[in-house]
């Protein structure tokens, strides 16, 4: 009895040793990401499918918390020499990562070194534009890109006597519709918004073709200065303040605006502006009402044809300090990741943009956009017209700190401590100070 147990134990031990050596033969590629909940499950499924598709490499996704937490963790790990091969960094961190030349293995170089196909022109122009350096090279792998759109409560529109199939096109219409919604009692407030910085300031500037900062919105170098205290932005912030006082706009909080989605889901506000990647959440939470989708509104007295919106979301950065074997695995994984099938499944499940032209074509062929009305609003909005220097995107170092300063000034304006002009002037001054610090630290 005892002998058989020992024998069984030995056998198990040998089996374990064999299986672990089989695992050891695989090269492990660590991937730190910031996708929680459903998005995280989708991401892990991509890694699992890649691992099942071949035997040489094993991609291990690790959830590291929010975007800022993931970036901070990766930087701390890099300083300690424990960095992952791949880290997902949000668009706000792009300036920081691009300046960290010694830490980053540029994707275009990685793909060339490992003889993997990589054609920048296969990606959507606004995506490529946002993530290329001044020499036109893509430094990080586009993965999850989004752009803000407008969601609206069709049921509330109907109750207010509005046509549920007509979304407000201009800000004047947003105001008129909101008043009607509030006065009729269809909802307590007209509209709310996530990301005051990204949606109501950065994208507002792009849409109306006004500069956000000098040197092509920061693409031209570290000596850039902010300019978002121009007449268009001031007028818009003034309106937001007035609308907040009249009760037709409700503020959803700083950074991403945590309170904004609940206001929309609870039918307190009938219109909601946020990332196209909020689509899954909106559809999942809109239990008692029907949702409409529309492009962001604009001021028709400022611009007749609004420019394209700009992107948010994140890209995958490859960090230095791994073995060539690992980088080979990263390159193979990136090739897998950019196939239309993988991209289409990701895009359709999450609401992120189809980042390659082929993915969009595949979705059209599959009849996805016809079957899901509103799912192509984001892609149409971000690809419309010819991008100008003002709508190509923004690139500033320490942008998340700048955004905090903007949020703080916006709140001061809402509380009546400052006028829109004063608040934006103060935000620009604080932002420029942060830019100078970044410039000094990266010279």
């Amino acid at each position: 009895m005892v002998h058989t147990k020992i024998a069984a134990g030995l056998l198990a031990g040998v089996a374990l040793a064999l299986s672990s050596s089989a695992v050891l033969a695989q090269t492990e590629v660590t991937w730190w990401h910031a996708m929680g909940a459903e998005l995280g499950e989708r991401l892990e499924a991509i890694a699992a499918d890649f691992n099942a598709s071949q035997t040489e490499f094993k991609v291990t996704p690790v959830f590291k918390g929010s975007y800022p937490e993931t970036l901070t963790a990766a930087i701390a790990a890099f300083r300690a020499g424990e960095q992952p091969a791949i880290v997902q960094v949000f668009e706000v961190g792009t300036g920081t990562m691009m300046a960290a030349k010694g830490a980053v293995y540029p994707v275009h170089q990685l793909m060339a070194d490992n003889n993997e196909p990589f054609d920048p022109s296969s990606f959507l122009a606004p995506v490529v534009g946002y993530y290329t350096d001044t020499a036109g090279n893509i430094l990080s792998m586009p993965f999850n890109s989004s752009t803000p759109i407008m969601y609206y409560n069709k049921t509330a529109f109907e109750k207010a006597g509005l046509d549920p199939n007509v979304a407000p096109k201009t800000w004047a219409e947003v105001e008129a519709f909101s008043k009607k919604i509030k006065d009729s009692g269809a909802a307590a407030c007209g509209f709310t918004s996530g990301w005051i910085t990204w949606v109501q300031t950065e994208n507002l500037s792009a849409l109306h073709d006004v500069p956000y900062g000098t040197l092509e919105n920061g693409f031209g170098g570290l000596a850039t200065e902010f300019q978002f205290n121009g007449p268009v932005q001031v007028k818009h912030w003034e309106n937001l303040k007035r609308w907040a006082d009249e009760g037709i706009f409700q503020y959803g909080g700083p950074v991403g605006g945590n309170d904004a989605p609940t206001k929309f889901y609870a039918q307190e506000c009938a219109i909601y502006m946020n990332s196209s990647a909020s689509r899954a959440g909106v559809i999942g939470n809109a239990k008692d009402f029907e949702v409409g989708f529309a492009p962001l509104p604009f001021y028709d007295d400022v611009i007749a044809e609004p420019k394209n919106s700009i992107i948010g979301g994140a890209t995958l950065w490859v960090l230095n300090g791994q073995s060539p074997e690992v980088y080979k695995g990263v390159a193979k994984f990136f090739t897998y990741l950019s196939t239309s099938e993988v991209q289409a499944a990701w895009h359709q499940a999450t609401g992120y943009l189809p980042i390659t032209n082929a993915t969009y074509e595949l979705g059209k062929e599959q009849g996805y956009y016809a079957a899901n009305p509103g799912s192509d609003i984001a892609i149409n909005q971000i690809t419309r017209g010819t991008p100008s220097v003002n709508s190509k995107g923004v690139r500033f170092g320490n942008l998340s700190q700048v955004r905090d300063a903007i949020d703080s000034e916006f709140e001061a304006m809402l509380a009546g401590q400052k006028s829109a002009q004063q608040a934006l002037d103060a935000a620009v001054a604080a932002g420029n100070q942060i830019l100078r610090d970044f410039e000094a630290a990266n010279q």
Partner: protein, 294 residues
């Protein structure tokens, strides 16, 4: 005071016995504090490729910022409110429980529960309750004619974080006060009662002075808690807003260093915070401790 001196024959033994504690202090306190001190004199990019020694630039910049001075004032308001509120409420609860004969244990257990809640979770709980859309309290306050929106109103936001931080700390203070109250000799209280003093007088002339060591200890612990331990809670409830109304020193350290990746300034701020707390503790020991009777 005279006491008998015990002389240990081995010179090395005391140090050996102290070694584990010393190692912990050095590794987890002195070494990181030294690192913070060092990087507070430097300017560095987040990845640490370029480090420049810049003397006191981080400090002079800090005191040139009106934001920092405002945060200093807010921290004082926050720490004083949380300490006073947490200690007075928990003392009240402890006295009440101490008078109970039977259900005291049950109340004690229930009142200690919040201490097991992580700061961020506590923050989320309060964020839910006070959420202007789905929260129950803004709804009730709205019925009473008070418009609650801590996303815009800075005073309300401060009230919210003070309440949340206090709630989290009451359990801890309560436990110590209960223990302190139980060590007050009943004979003293009975003697005073026989002499004709009422409960109010008995409390202030006998109980309160006798639990002064506990009160003093809690005072220091609470000030340290409010100054150092509350950034998770603030992050979850208000993120320092609106317009910086709840941006206290420790949250600013976290926001600038961890979120903003400005390590030099963040280190300078944490060194300042450390100095402030050291000074406060020294003051407390020098002047307040004299009035404590052990």
């Amino acid at each position: 005071m005279q006491s008998k001196r015990t002389v240990f024959p081995h010179k090395g033994l005391p140090y050996l016995l102290l070694a584990p504690q010393l190692a912990i202090t050095i590794v987890f306190f002195l070494w990181p504090a030294g690192q913070a001190l060092k990087s507070s004199f430097e300017r560095e990019d987040p990845f640490g490729f370029r480090t420049t020694f810049i003397w006191f630039d981080n400090y002079t910049r800090l005191f040139g910022q009106p934001d920092y001075l405002l945060a200093l004032g807010r921290s004082a308001v926050f720490a004083v409110s949380v300490t006073l509120l947490a200690m007075s409420v928990s003392l009240l609860l402890a006295v009440a429980v101490n008078r109970l004969l039977r259900a005291g244990k049950v109340y004690t257990t229930l009142l200690v529960w919040p201490y097991a809640v992580a700061p961020v979770v506590a923050g989320i709980l309060w964020w839910f309750m006070f959420n202007s859309t789905i929260g129950i309290l803004p709804y009730l306050l709205g019925q009473a004619g008070i418009a609650w929106n801590h996303r815009i109103n800075g005073d309300q936001a401060m009230l919210l974080v003070v309440l949340a931080a206090t709630w989290k700390q009451i359990s801890y203070c309560f436990l110590f006060f209960v223990a302190g109250l139980q060590s007050v000799p009943r004979s003293l209280l009975e003697a005073a009662a026989i002499d004709g003093s009422g409960p109010w007088k008995r409390f202030w002339t006998i109980t309160f002075p006798l639990i002064s060591p506990t009160t003093f200890f809690l005072l220091i612990v609470n000030v340290n808690y409010a100054m150092f331990d509350t950034f998770g809670l603030i992050d979850a409830t208000t993120s320092g807003g609106p317009a910086g109304a709840t941006n206290i020193l420790v949250y600013k350290v976290y926001a600038d260093g961890v979120l903003g990746l400005n390590i030099g300034s963040s280190s300078a701020q944490s060194v300042m915070l450390m100095l402030i707390v050291i000074v406060l503790t020294v003051i407390q020991f020098r002047w307040i401790e004299r009035r404590v009777e052990y």
